[in-house]
């Protein structure tokens, strides 16, 4: 059972606002999707062990320095920046 509280909680974790007036309809639609997902619980067995999809292991890089990007490049797409930092102003 998906409750309104569940939806409020996962919205908070997801950092999404759900307006009060949409909460009920969203709860209902989440319930429908969860009912659909619940089909897996009719699966006969516990299933097979699954590791990663192509069974690779021990893929590493060597500890060698690669020159970093300039801070101008790094900050190029920032909606706001100041003094070579990404900036989040408290209030706008």
């Amino acid at each position: 059972m998906v409750t309104r509280e569940d939806v409020e909680n996962i919205a908070l974790l997801s950092k999404l606002f759900v307006p009060e007036e949409e909460l009920d309809s969203l709860t209902k639609s989440m319930q429908e999707i969860i009912d659909f997902a619940d089909a897996i619980n009719n699966a006969p067995s516990e299933g097979e062990a699954f590791d990663n999809i192509n069974n690779l292991s021990n893929v590493f890089r060597e500890d060698e320095v690669i020159p970093s990007y300039s801070s101008e490049e790094i900050l190029k797409n920032a909606p706001e920046q100041a003094e070579n930092h990404f900036l989040v102003r408290n209030r706008e």
Partner: protein, 485 residues
């Protein structure tokens, strides 16, 4: 001859210059994109610059490669340095990557001419291209119908020949389904054969980049080019199965083509008929058809949605208005800024999947959903392995239906999810699958069939696909649109 080889010949024999060719593609885009909405960003200047480089090479009498100078397009979730890359989401508007996706590095090194970035469902979440922030792409066979999704823009552009070929990405069918809807070829390679570096992630364990083309030859040429081991992707294996192009014409006499009964359940009659007809074609080519059961397929769709949404909820956490992309105008404090940015920046379907993914991973639900789905994923992998003990390739429909009319997909999410029923098992098991046209329904809309191979068995499925294309070429039909070569 495929389109790529044809263009290659034209350039080499100086029938036209690369600049002229590129201009005619750009002209056609200009003419038709208003209706098709395939491109969301046209990069004419960059394209002409690349074309000029190729022309200079030709003028100097230098050899050019097969993909050199061939006008193409990239789905808008592939990172292109300095060129806006949005995943067709408001949240990434204005974002210009400072690095290239590995596939784009590879193609750019081969002097590919990119005409622009193409439309898609927002963050590749959708089956109709209609969740795009820029509106959906139209089907070249009938613009009242969708092009499919999520790589709808690439399929629309390639189907309408306003790009010779394109690269899309396939998480649950996003290459094969729109290729099927648009009557063209789409290859979803084995997981790990094409680097994911620079592909903006939807669901990392399912995503794979692949070609969308008008012929099997072209799919094979592009796949051979982009299937390389990449140092930057820990899950990369490269082209383990070897190159495919030279093996296209291998004899398929005695090849065992399997049909899983479950794949034909709930499929529309016209589609089913086309598949069975294709089986007959294979028989006539000397292949053997074997029927078998794949009961694990029943769970493929919920398993897919649980895993994909779980990974997506994590992958999409980073869009917070701080480092790139959209940021809300009015807010009070950091938490408020992030929530508003995300709520305003993501569309409904994306938000729905983020919430679902968060739910199945959250305390108290992880075991029942995510963990269980992972176990079933193991079961599905094993069932495919078993199936391939009795056949070489699997034949299945790509989509249970043909392209639907615009606006149809948006009403009921679950019904829309069912569209993916034939495509998602391949992603869950990490296998290669190619969709090729296999006929038309009564309304003239294309039907697609899917050939599924063993892990790294691209050469085999492309070989089988090519043989079919040779035998049933009438199904590979050009539309009224685009450049006439």
């Amino acid at each position: 001859m495929g389109k790529i080889a044809k263009i290659h010949e034209m350039l080499k024999s100086k029938q036209c210059s690369c600049t002229e060719l590129t201009k005619s593609y750009l002209d056609e885009i200009e003419k038709s994109n208003g209706e098709l909405n395939a491109y969301v960003n046209i990069t004419g200047d960059e394209a002409l610059k690349a074309a000029k480089t190729v022309d200079e090479k030709i003028a100097k009498g230098e050899e050019i490669g097969l993909l050199e100078g061939v006008p193409m397009t990239l789905k808008d979730n592939l990172s292109t340095k300095g060129i806006e890359t949005t995943c067709c989401s408001k949240i990434l508007t204005g974002y210009k990557p400072i690095y290239n996706a590995t596939v784009w590095d590879i193609l750019q090194n081969q002097n590919a001419v990119m005409l622009g970035k193409t439309n898609m469902d927002e963050f590749a979440m959708g089956s109709s291209c209609e969740t795009s922030y820029f509106g959906g792409a139209a089907n070249p066979f009938n613009t009242n119908h969708v092009a499919g999704g999520s790589s709808g823009g690439v399929a629309s552009a390639v189907g309408a020949n306003i790009a010779a070929y394109g690269l899309g990405s396939d998480t649950g069918g996003s290459i094969r389904q729109p290729a099927s809807f648009c009557g063209i070829v789409g290859l979803k390679p084995t997981y790990g054969s094409v680097s994911r570096y620079g592909l903006i992630a939807y669901a990392s364990s399912l995503d794979q980049i692949g070609p969308i083309t008008t012929s099997v030859e072209d799919a094979s040429i592009v796949f051979d080019a982009i299937s390389q081991y990449d140092d930057k992707d820990s899950t990369s294996k490269g082209n383990v199965g070897g190159e495919t192009y030279s093996k296209l014409n291998n004899d398929i006499k005695g090849m065992k083509i399997g049909i899983a009964r479950e794949y034909l359940d709930g499929v529309r009659d016209d589609v089913k008929e086309a598949i069975l007809k294709a089986a007959e074609v294979y028989k006539s080519l000397g292949a053997e058809i074997v029927y078998f059961d794949l009961p694990a397929l029943k769970f493929a769709l919920p398993v897919y949605y649980i895993i994909a949404c779980a990974e997506a909820s994590s992958n999409l956490g980073r869009y917070d208005g701080i480092r790139y992309g959209y940021k809300t105008e009015h807010y009070n404090g950091t938490h408020d800024m992030i929530c508003r940015t995300r709520s305003e920046g993501f569309g409904e379907e994306v938000k729905r999947r983020i919430l679902l993914g968060t739910y199945v991973l959250s305390a108290g639900y992880y075991d029942a959903y995510y963990k269980k789905a992972q176990n079933l994923r193991g079961t599905i992998v094993k069932s495919f392995n078993n199936a391939f003990e009795n056949c070489d390739v699997i034949l299945a429909p790509t989509v249970p239906m043909t392209a639907f009319e615009k606006g149809h997909a948006t009403s009921d999410p679950i019904e829309t999810y069912l569209t993916d029923i034939c495509t998602v098992p391949v992603n869950i098991a990490g296998l290669p699958g190619v969709s090729i046209p296999c006929g038309f329904n009564a309304k003239g809309m294309p039907i697609g069939m899917q050939l599924i191979g063993k892990s790294f068995g691209e050469a085999q499925i492309l070989n089988a696909a090519y043989k079919y294309q040779q035998a049933a070429g009438e199904n590979f039909k050009e539309t009224k649109w685009g450049v006439k070569l």
